[in-house]
Structure formats: C-alpha cells, structure tokens
Amino acid sequence: MASQSPPPDTSAPEQKHWLVRPSTIRLLWIGGIALLVGVTGAELTLDDPHTYFGADGLFGFNAWYGFLTCAAMVVGAKLLGYAIKRPDDYYGPDGEETR
C-alpha cells in the first residue's frame, strides 16, 4: 500500500479544496439547474419531434420520466433494503463462510 500523508485539517472552509467549498457547491447547484432548464428548453427548437408511443412526444418527457423513474428506483431499492439488507459480516468476517 502506498504511503499516505496525514489528513490535512479540513475544518476551516477556506482550507478546503476549492471544489468542495460551500460557495463552489452553491455555484454548482445554480449552474446545474440552469443546465437542466437549458436542455429542456432546447426541446422547443426541434421541429416535429418523433414520437412512437404518444407519451414520449409530450413536452419534457425524458426530463420528468427520467426524474420520476429514478426516484421510484431509489425509493424501491430503499424499501427492498429493509427486507434484504444484512450487516456485511452476515456470512462471516470478510464475507467468508464460518464453519
């Protein structure tokens, strides 16, 4: 294993890497939302978009369908997790079967 330098003190915001400072994260959210609006708006520039099944021709179909199905998958996985999640030493330490 490679040597690791001791972790720097990251408690003060100004010492954090610029990418993880709260101000950068706020900017990333603003940029991200602008991008979402821009991409959805770009749909208006298409003349006569192709539709196969009706619903896929609705405005912003991929946006809301993508968001909703992902939310459903996350919530579905969470619910299933209550039934099938076990501590990671369930089959023995390090996943090895205990005999």
Partner: protein, 570 residues
C-alpha cells in the same frame, strides 16, 4: 504471417510460457502476446475456416466472420489493457489464469462447432475461478468455490444440451439453435448462467469483488460477454430473452443502489449492462443485434476502465467500502478523471462510446413498437447514470472527505486507464470504425439534435434525482441478500437438520436394539446384550470401511459376471 492460427492460442501459449519468465522478459510476453493476437484477429480473412476430424465428428476451431472478428478483437484488446494494468502483479497464478481465460474467450469467439465452444467454455470457468481464488482476500477462496460450482452447473446443462442436440441430428455446427427442441432450452440455460441472468446472477456480485485489484478487470470482460456472443449466434430473436434481459437490467440497478462495496457496485452494474445486450438479442432485428454487439464492445472497455479505477483505489488505500472512502479526487486526479470518463460512457452520455451503442438497442425496441420494453429500457438508461454513472465516482472520489490522500497508481496502471478512456471517447466521437465492424449495415445516426437533447434530458434529470434523494442513499456497512442465500444458508441448514434427524434416528434405533437385547439376553446375551456384538460402538472410519466392503461385494455379485463377460474373461 501466422496463417490460419486461431488467435486465442497465442494467449494460451503465452500463459504456458509465463511461469518460465521474469523481469523484462515477462513484461514483454505480457504485452506482446495480446498485441500479436490483435494483429492475427485483423489479419484473418473473412470467411476463412479450419476443420479437423475428431472421432468421426467435424471440429471447426476457426471460423471467421464479422461477429466472431468483433468479439475476438475486443477480447484481444482487453487482454492487452488488462495485461498493461496488471504488469506489476506479483501473483503469477493470476497472470497465467488471466491469459488462459482471455485466450479461451477468443477461442469461443472463433469456434465454429459446439464441442470446441464447450471445451473453451470450461477452460474459461476453471481459469476465471483461479483468478478469483488467487485474489488474496479473506473471502477469495469461498467465493471461488461458489463461483466454480455455479459454472460447473452451467457446464453440465450445456454439455447435456449439446449432446442431445447432436444425437437428435442437429449436427455439431455452432449456429442458430432456437427453442424448438428441449435440447435448445438446456443450451440456453447453460449460456444464461454465464451471462449472469437472474435467478443465478448472484455469482457476479459474489465473486468479482473478491479477486485482486487487477483480477477483477479481467473477470469483468470475458465470461458474461462470451455468453452474449453465444446467445447472439444461437438465440437471436428469442422473445424470452427480452424478459430475461429486462429483469437483469433492473436487478443490476437495484442491487447496485443498495451496495456499499465499490467493486460490487460495478459487478452488479455488469449484470445491468449485459441485460441491455440480452434484451437486444431478444428483439432480434438487425438494428437490435448490431446494438447488442456494439454495446458489448463498448461495454468491455468502459467497464474495464471503471474497474481499473476501483482497483487503483483498492491498491492505493487498501479499502473497498464506499462508507470508508471519499475525497480521493484531491490526490488521485488521473484516476478520478478516468473514472468519470468511464462513468459517462456507461451512462451513454453523448460523445462517449455508450451513447453510440446503447441507443441502438432502445431505438430498435421503438422501431418494433415494443412499448413496455422501450419505456423500461428508457427508465433503465436513467437508472444506469444513477447507480454507476454518479454513485460510483461520487462516493469513492467525492462525497465526505475520508482524509485519505493516496497518490495515483504506478505509471502502467495510469497508462491502461488513459488508453481505455481515450477509446471510450474516441468511439463516441467517431463511431464509424466500430460501425464498420458490425455484422449488419448500420442505418443509425446517433448524433441528431433530437437524440442528443433527449439523452441529455434523461441523464441530467436522473442526476438531479440522485442529489435530491441523496439522504436516502446513505452508505451503510451492509450486504444485500440474494438467491445465493439458498446455498449459503438454507442448504447448509437443511443438511445439518438432516444429519441431526439421522443421528436421532440412529440413537433411537440403538435404544430399541438395547431393549431387545435385554429381552433376549437370557438366550443370546453375548450377541445383543449391552456388551454384545450388536452394541459395539465402531469408529466412523471403521464403519465406512465395513460399508465400503459390503457395497463392493454387492456390486461384484450383481455386476461382476457381466463385467467379466464384457472383458472376455467369461
């Protein structure tokens, strides 16, 4: 230069040579053999074949056409990338197994008859199990044993199917098989086990994360994709495969969303991606089959890239759980960037290889008006970004700072990742060479404004869902139960129950005998009494010896005369 030498044999010969090499010579063999295999794959003329007679059956160890060349090429490329990444791997056994494994996969791709397919198929099973075994993790041995049992089961089904197919007059040739005869179902089951199809998909998530940092890179490429290749040849247009593929797609997403081990996330994601390919094969139109083939090609590269990034993190930190990682982008910039390229490619972002291949499959579903399949594939495309595209890089390289500051891995590992990343972007930007390799003419334009905007919408809003729902995805030190629960828990429990019942029955029988002995002790106390013959306690070994002799005697008296007659001894 090498005539009609099957290219897989180059890597198999290199595997045999590796134990006798060291230092520079070993490096040379590791890198030159896959390059030679790539050259041989491209040099073989289309339509060429080799035939051999073996026990009255015709074997075809080499059959060159567009689809065999496509898979042979990507397997050879993967052999090179994997060898470059594993150049300083100290476990010789893993390197030998990896070359045998890669060579056998290429062997399957060029095999023209079912018997050759089967021989290479089993070589792959043994070689890949050896890779898991030599992983050096605490769980490697157990995982390798479970892995090999599942694959031997697949091998038995496949062998039974092949023999039945040949006996029924289907011939040894490897081509379209279909489900008209029950032998086809057996062959399909054997193929699907290797594809990681549910309900026997747990071996992928179980075994792959237990291999070494470099072993998993090899494992990710060959077994499931040779399965895609043989399904492509033997079962195109089999509608059942649409259902099987869609189940795999969502199984992969859900289990990856629940998972904490970074390489197990990517292993589940293999099942998800192979699900897209299996669905495409089930749709079976030229566009869908082109899509499945090109997606396999693209997938092998970006999945290897993702697992190289994960392997680099494992090597540099010794940690595998997302809950113990994070913030690594600060000290591993090359690995982080390469992981992001792989993540974008697997998510099928425009300008990456996934975009020009995967969309062919969902477009084929739309063309065939398979509404349900199309809506599910579209949801799954968003789900890929969720579970592999963002989750993997986010939890490993960003999220909360773990405080770890390991450097990027050694040069050859970085070089392998950068090469794979260049291929991911190169194929995405300029897909023409890949399209030219496909078996059918490509009538598909990935870069239309509509297509690009729709894909960006889908993926960016999936990304929004990830960050909005992040609190629901807090990492926990857990695993998720899978169907292997049946043989890791239920089976052993039933075995112990059976043993307990037998012991109890034995004790009861002994007590009855003792009682009988007391009753009859006046007559024959020496035989059945508490100190008599029947109450003797024998050691287990002696008991087994007595039983073995009794069984041998019984066999001899029933079969002996026939056996002697057959041997000519009367």
């Amino acid at each position: 230069m090498l005539g009609l030498l099957p290219p897989g044999l180059i890597l198999i010969a290199a595997a045999a040579l590796l134990p006798f090499t060291s230092g520079r010579l070993r490096d040379t063999v590791l890198l030159a053999a896959p390059l030679l295999a790539i050259a041989q794959v491209m040099a073989l003329p289309a339509g060429a074949s080799l035939t051999l007679d073996w026990l009255g059956e015709e074997l075809v160890p080499l059959r060159v056409d567009a689809i065999s060349r496509l898979f042979g090429l990507i397997f050879s490329i993967m052999g090179f990338l994997g060898a470059l990444f594993a150049l300083r791997q100290q476990r010789l056994a893993e390197l030998v197994a990896a070359f045998l494994y890669a060579g056998s996969a290429i062997g399957v791709a060029f095999a023209g008859d079912l018997l050759t397919v089967f021989v290479y198929w089993e070589l792959m099973a043994v070689a890949s199990a050896l890779i898991v075994w030599s992983g050096g993790m605490a769980g490697s041995f157990g995982a390798a044993m479970r892995y090999i049992f599942v694959h031997f089961l697949g091998g038995v089904l496949l062998m039974a199917g092949i023999i039945w197919h040949i006996v029924e007059g289907g011939g040894t040739g490897f081509g379209l098989i279909g489900l008209a005869h029950p032998s086809g179902w057996l062959i399909l089951a054997g193929f699907l086990i290797n594809a990681g199809a549910w309900p026997l998909s747990s071996w992928v998530g179980d075994a792959y994360p237990e291999a070494s940092y470099s072993g998993t890179v090899f494992l990710s490429a060959f077994t499931t994709k040779t399965a895609v290749y043989v399904l492509w040849r033997a079962f195109p247009g089999t509608e059942l495969l649409i259902v099987v593929g869609l189940i795999m797609v969502f199984y992969g997403i859900i289990y990856a969303l629940l998972e904490n081990d970074m390489r197990r996330i990517l292993a589940y994601s293999i099942v998800n991606q192979v699900g897209f390919m299996v669905t495409g094969i089930g749709i079976g139109t030229e566009m869908a089959l082109n899509g499945a083939a090109s997606h396999a090609f693209a997938h092998i590269i970006y999945k290897a890239l993702l697992l190289m990034a994960a392997g680099s993190v494992l090597l540099q930190t010794g940690r595998r759980r997302c809950s113990e990682l994070g913030g690594l982008f600060q000290s591993m910039p090359v690995t982080t960037l390469c992981a992001i390229v792989g993540a974008l490619a697997i998510s099928a972002f425009p300008l990456t290889s996934g975009f020009v291949s995967k969309s062919m499959i969902s477009d084929a579903a739309a063309h065939e008006h398979l509404g349900l399949a199309w809506f599910l594939l579209t949801a799954a495309s968003a789900g890929v970004f969720l579970h592999a595209g963002i989750k993997f890089p986010w939890f490993v390289f960003f999220q909360k700072d773990s405080g770890l500051r390991p450097p990027d891995p050694p040069w050859h590992m970085k070089a392998a990742m950068i090469l794979a990343a260049i291929l991911c972007v190169g194929i995405g930007v300029y897909p023409a060479p890949l399209y030219a390799l496909l078996p059918f003419e490509v009538e598909f334009a990935p870069y239309t404004a509509e297509h690009v905007i729709e894909m960006l919408e889908l993926l960016l809003f999936a990304g929004l869902a990830f960050f909005v729902l992040l609190p629901l995805m807090k990492r926990t030190r857990t695993i998720s139960l899978d169907t292997d629960f049946l043989w890791r828990r239920v089976g052993p429990a039933l075995w112990r129950l059976g043993l307990a019942l037998l012991t109890a029955a034995g004790a009861l029988g002994g007590r009855l005998l003792t009682s009988a002995g007391r009753l009859g002790s006046s007559v024959s106390g020496r035989v059945v009494g508490p100190q008599g013959l029947f109450a003797l306690t024998l050691e287990t070994g002696l008991t087994i010896l007595v039983l073995t002799i009794a069984l041998a005697a019984a066999l001899w008296f029933t079969l002996g005369p026939d056996l002697m007659a057959a041997m000519g001894g009367g």
